[in-house]
């Protein structure tokens, strides 16, 4: 692992993310980079399902939202320390995903996609009705939770570094899985599930495992994100726009590639910044995302990395 150039590329990217805003104490840059880090985290974990195993997960935002809720609830109602809450949120969501995945992932392709759309609706409906989590009005955090970290300003920096760490771990995880036997099995499932099963890939188990693995880091990212905003409500936690943007990012960058997804996230973050500030497009964010996705799916299913691989075949050896 340590001798592969790609490992060091990831490390360099993480280091740049960590160092850039510290130089000159640039808070604006930090705020935009934390969103980019969040996008990269969500997109690379979705890519484990969509790009490797060829299974679309329309409900990946559930991991983010549930993780946020569990973490915020543990901090506010149970007075847990922040680090323990974050890890517990990740573990809980991951275990839930494993249990759910073992049941639902025996289903093939389209049926699984239907189930993931359903889980989004159902979990949101559940949270809106669930009293201890504040129902549809959500949970507010008091600023005193940040006292152990030395106040809110310090805490925002700590949250930023943790988010960058989570992003780095997501990229390493994507890479490590792709380089492993497990990853080979997943890619085989993505190519042809029947053949994979005949060749001895335990397909239901692998699918459930990758579903669960793709839940852990997004749940922690959700916890970090909602600790940062000190407020969580169902419409933010299970935001339709965010969940679709993540799919667009994976397809834009190139499904199944680690670099492409990170690149796609970064590009989309730029595009979104432009859309939000533009008079004409600020209301049509979903429309633009939809048109972009339609064009990619119809004409460039390989995404950006597909294009780069074709133009510069040598990059395939270095960039995963």
């Amino acid at each position: 692992m340590l001798r592969r150039p790609f490992f060091w590329i990831i490390t360099a990217v993480v280091a740049i993310f960590a160092i850039l805003p510290v130089l000159g104490n640039n808070v604006d840059l930090r705020e935009s980079l934390i969103i980019a880090a969040l996008y990269i985290t969500l997109a690379s974990n979705l890519n484990l399902m969509l790009g490797y195993a060829g299974y679309i997960n329309f409900g990946s935002i559930v991991f983010f939202g549930l993780g946020g809720y569990i973490c915020v609830w543990l901090v506010s109602a149970q007075r847990w320390p922040l680090d323990a809450s974050l890890l517990t949120a990740g573990a809980c969501v991951s275990i839930l995903a494993l249990v759910f995945g073992l049941g639902i992932l025996r289903l093939r392709g389209a049926f699984f996609a239907l189930a993931t759309i359903g889980i989004n609706e159902a979990v949101q409906a559940f949270v809106e009705n669930f009293g201890p989590w504040g129902g549809s009005s959500g949970i507010y955090l008091s600023q005193t939770i940040f006292d152990p970290l030395g106040g809110a300003a310090q805490a925002l920096w700590a949250i930023y570094f943790l988010m960058v760490l989570v992003m780095g771990l997501s990229l390493y995880l994507s890479y490590a899985i792709k380089a492993s036997k497990f990853g080979m099995g997943l890619l085989a499932i993505g190519q042809n599930e029947n053949v994979a099963a005949i060749l001895g890939v335990p397909t239901p188990l692998y699918k459930a495992l990758v579903y669960s693995a793709s839940a852990f880091l997004p749940a922690i990212a959700g916890g970090l994100y909602f600790l940062k905003s000190s407020f969580i409500q169902p419409s933010d936690a299970f935001d339709l726009t965010l969940s679709t943007e993540v799919i667009v990012i994976v397809m834009l960058g190139g499904q199944g590639t680690v670099t492409g997804v990170a690149l796609g996230a970064y590009l989309y973050e730029d595009l979104r910044g432009y859309l939000l500030t533009s008079e004409t497009f600020s209301h049509f964010q979903l429309v633009v995302a939809g048109v972009l996705l339609l064009l990619i799916v119809q004409f460039f299913p390989g995404g950006l990395m597909g294009f780069i691989y074709r133009q510069f075949p040598r990059t395939q050896k270095v960039l995963e």
Partner: protein, 288 residues
């Protein structure tokens, strides 16, 4: 006890309308193995057609059904050429993503124009009173109309040349092509019919309940539950699935707040998918 019975009957009436919408979803799946993720958005389009036409021209809500059917048909043909045609024969992932992206565009336009405000179309049809209970006239009329449209679809599929061609393509596309059925045109027409059914069931639901631009997601989920109950690709099963879902909604309505029904329905959906992956009412594949 009687209250529960009344609630069940009302549930069955609404269930017929769900079944009609789900027939559109299942028809498209049966013919070309594509799950139409614009289904919910097309239902909402039907609801808004109902709202705009009754509001602007003072039409009776039921006079809106023919324009909804025709408009839905052409929207469906357009949808086929924009999003589905190039995806036929590619992995299911691709057609899911491409219909999903059209859905995003529709929802995006809807929220930009109308926001997420609640809309309501008032319908005055005298109800039917039995003892202490009154069944709303709108519910009865919607159920009857849904049943009539479903029956017309059945006649169309079994007794017209085009309908038989659709069933032939659903059974075996290559063989249909060999006997000179223009399969591409048949696929486009099937999507047209599927979307028309979604739009008209949306318009019918608009006469029953208030709606927003985002209502489509919930109804789309109901559509999935219904089709999975009935077996994907089986229109008659979809109607039975709709009745089953209506029965369930009627049964739980007296005991559980309405906002929980989606959670219950989803749980049911998962259980049915795991226990009966081919559907409860499905006899065989290609039963169109």
């Amino acid at each position: 006890m009687l209250g529960i019975l009344a609630s069940i009957i009302d549930g069955l009436l609404v269930g017929l309308v769900y079944g009609l919408g789900a027939m559109g979803l299942t028809l498209i799946w049966g013919v070309m193995d594509v799950i139409n993720l614009t289904h919910g958005a097309m239902m909402v389009a039907g609801m808004f057609a109902l709202y705009l036409l009754t509001d602007a021209f003072g039409l009776s809500p039921y006079a809106v059904l023919p324009p909804a059917l025709i408009g839905g048909f052409f929207a469906g043909i357009l949808l086929y050429w924009i999003a589905i045609h190039r995806m036929i024969g590619r992995p299911p992932l691709m057609s899911l993503l491409s219909t999903f992206s059209v859905n995003l565009v529709l929802i995006g336009i809807g929220t930009a124009v109308w926001g997420t405000a609640l809309f309501n179309v008032s319908v005055s049809v005298p109800g039917l009173s039995i003892g202490r209970y009154t069944f709303p006239g709108a519910h009865i009329l919607a159920a009857v109309l849904a049943a009539v449209i479903a029956w017309l679809l059945y006649l169309f599929l079994h007794h017209t040349r085009l309908g038989k061609a659709i069933r032939a393509v659903a059974n075996n596309r290559e063989a249909a092509e060999l006997v000179a059925i223009p399969t591409t045109r048949v696929l486009a027409v099937s999507v047209g019919i599927g979307v028309a059914l979604a739009a008209v069931s949306g318009a019918l639901i608009g006469t029953l309940f208030p709606f927003t631009v985002l209502s489509g997601d919930g109804y789309q989920l109901k559509g999935f539950v219904v089709t999975v109950l009935g077996g994907l690709g089986n229109p008659v099963g979809a109607l039975l699935g709709g009745l089953a879902l209506g029965l369930l909604e009627g049964l739980v309505a007296p005991f559980v707040p309405v906002s929980w029904t989606l959670v219950i329905e989803f749980t049911l959906f998962v259980l049915v998918l795991i226990a009966f992956p081919r559907g409860i009412f499905s006899s065989r594949r290609g039963a169109l």
